[in-house]
Symmetry: C2
DNA sequence: TAAAATAGGTATACCGGTCTGGCTACTTGG
DNA sequence: CCAAGTAGCCAGACCGGTATACCTATTTTA
């Protein structure tokens, strides 16, 4: 049995990113040191600096990975939705999936927003988080445009409204350590779009 | 002219708290060191540990002070409101006042929520932030109860809805560095309560 | 084909600097 | 006189980041 192309161990890069995903989310970015990351990854410190140019670089790649992670969950959810209303709710479901499965040590809200909260004003990471939130709002606007083809202004305004509900519910859910508030917001939105 | 009760210089406690308010908001809690606080306050490090038992104690008092600060702004706004609808909007106006006047180095969203984002899961500070958010929601519920005396369930549900809008708009506003989103949420809420 | 070069991993030690917190010794105002 | 302030040093841990040296696959080349 020749298995020539099977690395039995993940690359240092992957192990480091996995460790960063967990530690940055649980303890924050400033609260997580390089040493803790390499220890969790089971990797030499040199390997971190072979794969990332600095901690800031690792943080930026972490933010991109979180964004991609949510996009993947959303893509799965939206694939099984049959109309614009369900596709809007798919946005909430994707965050719900995030909340339920992605975190081992308890739910703490949106990792991207939490990260942005402790980044300095001019940090490029803040812009990445902002792009993510704008993409979510733009996805909502697109589905609402399908639902209200004759009233694009109202579609845009409703997208902002729903984005606020989503963000606010996530924030409260993170504070409370569970996703009940997220479910409440989803129910509000279901009622909102029902009448469109 | 005897001016026996006029300390020409604020107490070390007040100067420390003022420095903490500014630095914790701008650079985060973990990102702000003791030395930076005492330097900004123009105070000896010993004075910090005379007035606060630890940095965690200072952080907790900081969170309480921020809560009290918002309550003061809200009290001012609600005093000039003439009906439940205006009193609901006063909640938004208080946050707007916060955004416009309280921060010298740029708006970064809700200081309490930002702080909670970087506190560990079990930290008592997170509970303080949660109490603040629950009080805001309870204020909204009270005014909506005045507006809908025959439908307490709907009042409660609307209070949660509006609290989400407020929180989500604050989060987005903080990301974007200005309070436009807060104004947008206020407008949405004004329309919502208009028809009640 | 066999030797050499390369890429990426490992482990350990170290750098200057900052962290929280405690300490001494001196000064000042009521 | 004394409480509360001052300046500054120190300990021990941790910060991000670098340096050195070794190991082991794979790949290139003579």
């Amino acid at each position: 049995m020749l298995t020539p192309e099977k690395p039995r161990r993940k690359s240092a890069h992957d192990r480091l990113m996995q460790a960063a995903m967990s530690l940055f989310y649980d303890h924050g970015i400033t609260g997580t040191g390089i040493d803790a990351i390499v220890e969790r990854a089971g990797v030499a410190k040199k390997s971190l600096y072979n794969n990332f140019s600095s901690k800031a670089d690792l943080v930026n790649q972490y933010l991109e990975a979180r964004h991609a992670e949510w996009l993947g969950l959303y893509d799965k959810r939206v694939a099984t939705a049959n109309n614009p209303r369900e596709r809007i709710l798919a946005v909430f479901d994707a965050y719900q999936d995030h909340a339920e499965f992605a975190y081992e040590r308890g739910f703490r809200g949106c990792g991207l927003l939490n990260a942005a909260a402790e980044l300095e004003a001019g940090d490029t990471g803040r812009a990445a988080v902002r792009r993510h939130k704008e993409q979510v709002e733009s996805i909502l606007a697109q589905h609402l445009g399908d639902l209200l083809p004759n009233d694009p202004d109202r579609a845009k305004s409703l997208a902002e409204h729903i984005a606020f509900l989503l963000e606010g519910a996530m924030a409260r859910a993170g504070l409370e350590g569970n996703s009940k508030r997220l479910l409440a917001a989803r129910a509000v939105v279901r009622n909102m779009v029902e009448g469109l």
